[in-house]
Symmetry: C2
Subunit: 262 residues, 2 copies
């Protein structure tokens, strides 16, 4: 087999994130998977945490090549994580990648965080486009966080996904506990816990005396199940939650069909 | 019963949107439901379409009273639709409203649009907080759109929801066809269609010769089911899809538990 043919057959791995292209987490993800295929990075040019599934529709986008990752094609985009996935397919790859990876996020995206997370929204966007995807998040916000355990399991998981050909809409929300690699007990398939933030706003006054508000709050887990991502993480498992973009509430639909006067 | 006691018992109806507090759609929604309870508006101070479930975490928020709606307490917020719901509960109402209504959106939020929609994300945020909610969207982008049919059915639906006490996490995605009121066939409980945008980016050059990109695309329905929101709307029904914030993909979870090496 010629060298060029071998290269053609290597799976194309699109990598993005929501912490921005300069974040250590995305560098660690590229390092973890670059032997598994042809990695191309398209990521936001600035932090985009908490952007959820936002897209840019009122203004145009910019896309510039960067040399951030040795030997890896990379582009920074002025938009959201979801914009990055859309632009990557249309203007960078000119095809669908074999898999889309997002992260490694600095901070947790388990339970309800999946809804707010730009990391997971990028992965979900890929799955809408029939591109299998995984979002990775480490339960450590620190810029000096140790990504070695996350890297090890990211490689193990992505290798399996590329070899086994799972559902084309597969989208996994993977969270890694912030413990030394030796303590990690492996991957655990889970459901999303019902856990959320008990939020309040910190009210302050600017130098002109006008009020402004900072969002703050405590995380509260209402879910006692042992099959949830929150339980798995507390017990040093890496949680793997398959997620869907079909938001239909099936049980409530059945109830409403009987009770709503239409 | 004293007048003050009667007023206390009136349900509190929080109204928000993603088109901004000055949009005709939110005014029409307030008009439609103001006889059903005590309406309080907390909405973005500018258009926030396509913001999905974005929240503001890197900067503070502003909140100012406005006199936009005769006889109705109203506030404009510098943040996203989801921020509006959070701020309304903590700093305006100081309690959970009995119901949260979002819209009436200028444009469709059926099928995959639910993921990108600020209108629906506000409603979903309320349901996370155990506040029943409804997002309303009219299939007409025009600033001169006729909201009369949407108003009629919004009132019918909200009246039922307030009287019957459905699930506290109830969240409905309601879309209204852009046809004269007389042609509307009533409410139809549906599932979310698998339909999405076939997107591409329009590449242009700025006066300095640098490229920029506008998102554009066509809507494509891949779903032939007659139980979907897209089908209902095409047949002049008002589609009602109950949606959930639990994104767990149950079938894929079962498959992965068997096939993933963990």
């Amino acid at each position: 087999m010629t060298k060029s043919k071998a290269r053609k057959q290597a799976p194309v791995i699109l990598v993005t994130n929501d912490d921005g292209i300069a974040a250590p987490g995305i560098r660690c993800l590229v390092e973890a998977v670059k032997e598994l295929g042809k990695v191309v990075v398209v990521a936001p040019d600035k932090p985009q945490s908490g952007m959820g599934h936002a897209i840019t529709i009122g203004q145009p986008l910019r896309l510039h090549p960067v040399h951030q990752f040795p030997g890896v094609e990379a582009w920074q985009c002025s938009g959201t994580p979801v914009d990055c996935v859309k632009l990557a397919v249309d203007k960078v790859l000119h095809r669908k990648p074999d898999i889309c990876l997002s992260g490694i996020n600095h901070g947790a995206n388990h339970s309800i965080n999946v809804i707010y997370s730009g990391t997971m929204s990028a992965a979900l966007e890929a799955s809408i486009e029939s591109i299998p995807s995984v979002g990775f998040s480490l339960l450590d916000f620190g810029i000096e966080a140790d990504f070695s355990g996350a890297q090890k399991y990211a490689k193990i998981l992505v290798d399996q996904l590329l070899k086994k050909k799972f559902d084309k809409h597969l989208c996994l929300n993977v969270n890694i506990p912030a413990v030394p690699e030796i303590l990690l007990k492996g991957l655990k398939v889970c459901r999303q816990a019902y856990a959320k933030y008990d939020e309040r706003f910190d009210e302050r006054h600017d130098p002109s005396g006008r009020k402004y508000y900072w969002l703050t709050g405590e995380f509260v887990n209402f879910d006692k199940g042992k099959d949830t991502d929150v339980w798995a993480l507390k017990n040093n498992y890496i949680s793997v939650v398959p997620v869907t973009f079909d938001l239909t509430h099936v049980q409530l639909k059945l109830k409403l069909e009987k009770s709503l006067t239409t």
